[in-house]
Amino acid sequence: MSTTPTPACDGTRVTAYVDDALSAEDRAAVEAHLASCPACRDQEAFERGLRQRMRTLPVPELPASLEARVRRELRRRPVPAAVRWLPLAAGIALAVMWGRGAAPFVAWELARDHAHCFARERLKSEVWTSDSGEIAEWYRQHGTELPVLPSAAGGVELVGGRFCPLLDRKVAHLYYAGEKRHLSVFVVPGPARFASGFVTRTFGENVRLLHTSGMTLALVGEDAEAVDAFHRALSTSRADASSLSVPAVVAR
């Protein structure tokens, strides 16, 4: 014999009835329906029987090693993010330490600083003077020895100076200014790797790096001729004051 559900049957509600998931009102309604519907009574009987059978089914055997495996995994400390990134951070630090001394990087930093300082409406200066002896004295009092510098050369003359912070160091920044041209002379402490001289154009500026009397000197200006002329004047003043030695600069 087979029983056929009628349109009045709601099998889902019968399921919920078996699972005791109905409100009292719905439960009563389903009970009333069950009393008159063999098909739904059959469904109810099947589902109750099935639930009972399911509870007695053999449980999958727990692998003996699983608990130990889970415990082991839990005890294994996750590597903290800081440690995971350590090799990368160390790599970056090394690259930065090496890179900060690279001549192109130093040149780029100085060109940026030159543009930054001269872009200001009012030049920021800690000392105002057009006398190279006077400014050398001021820097000496502030812990930096300057080489012998011309007070004026290549159409620019000394106006003052200050200390400028770069990314990784502080440099002495001397301002030279002329009609529509500016020139910076930097005394750069710390590493700057290049052979005898380094000439480049970066950040829109002409940059010249020189080693002189154990320090690194840099000339930066937008006008290549002014930089050239200033460099020649510097060599001359070196000849005048024998303390200064400017090596030949790589030809551009």
Binding site: T3, V14, L62, R75
Partner: protein
């Protein structure tokens, strides 16, 4: 070390009387969560249908639960919480394999349903086989209800679906089991 007792320098505390503040996070987690290992594995096995995947799924579940343990509120239903994580881990593994559990939603009852006695005459193994042949959406709902005895509300939270969906999945799952068992015995 038995799950039931946690040894500390200052003594052994029976489970249920754990002075939580004395325990490390791992110890608290193990004491609360590991007693449900067998049930989780049983359900994982029913879902994946093989021991290897079930073990991986259970391990993934415990790792996730441990990482999220700070968000678990002590005293609430940890069993349901663990099953929720199990289900999520299962769904994610499907997503990784870019398949999805079959989402067949059957409509209609079929014209004629054979009497229940025929279906229930099936042996335990036949029931297991019929269960394994069910689409996973129905299988997990039936397993959570009929084997783990969760309420509809709990199952709704575990599967992250509305209660109405739970109800209809259990209904469809059982109806499919019934036809499968009848076909077997016929």
């Amino acid at each position: 070390m038995a799950i039931g007792n946690i040894r500390r320098r200052d003594g052994v505390f029976p489970r249920g009387a754990l002075p939580h503040s004395y325990l490390t996070r791992e110890e608290r987690f193990e004491a609360e969560a590991l007693p449900h290992l067998r049930a989780l594995y049983g359900t994982a096995y029913r879902m994946t249908r093989n021991a290897h995947d079930a073990e991986d799924l259970v391990q993934e579940t415990y790792l996730r639960a441990f990482r999220a343990f700070d968000r678990y509120q002590p005293g609430t239903n940890i069993r349901a919480w663990l099953f929720t994580i199990l289900h999520r881990a299962r769904t994610d593994s499907f997503r990784r394999q870019s398949r999805s559990p079959q989402t067949v939603e059957l409509t209609g009852e079929g014209p004629s349903v054979p009497p229940s006695q025929d279906a229930l005459a099936a042996g335990g193994e036949e029931i297991v086989r019929a269960m394994e042949a069910l689409p996973e959406v129905f299988r997990s709902a039936v397993v959570l209800r009929d084997m783990e005895d969760f309420t509809y509300d709990e199952i709704a939270r575990i599967l992250e679906v509305p209660v109405g969906t739970v109800m209809s999945r259990i209904h469809r799952g059982r109806a499919l089991l019934r036809s499968a068992l009848v076909r077997r015995s016929a």
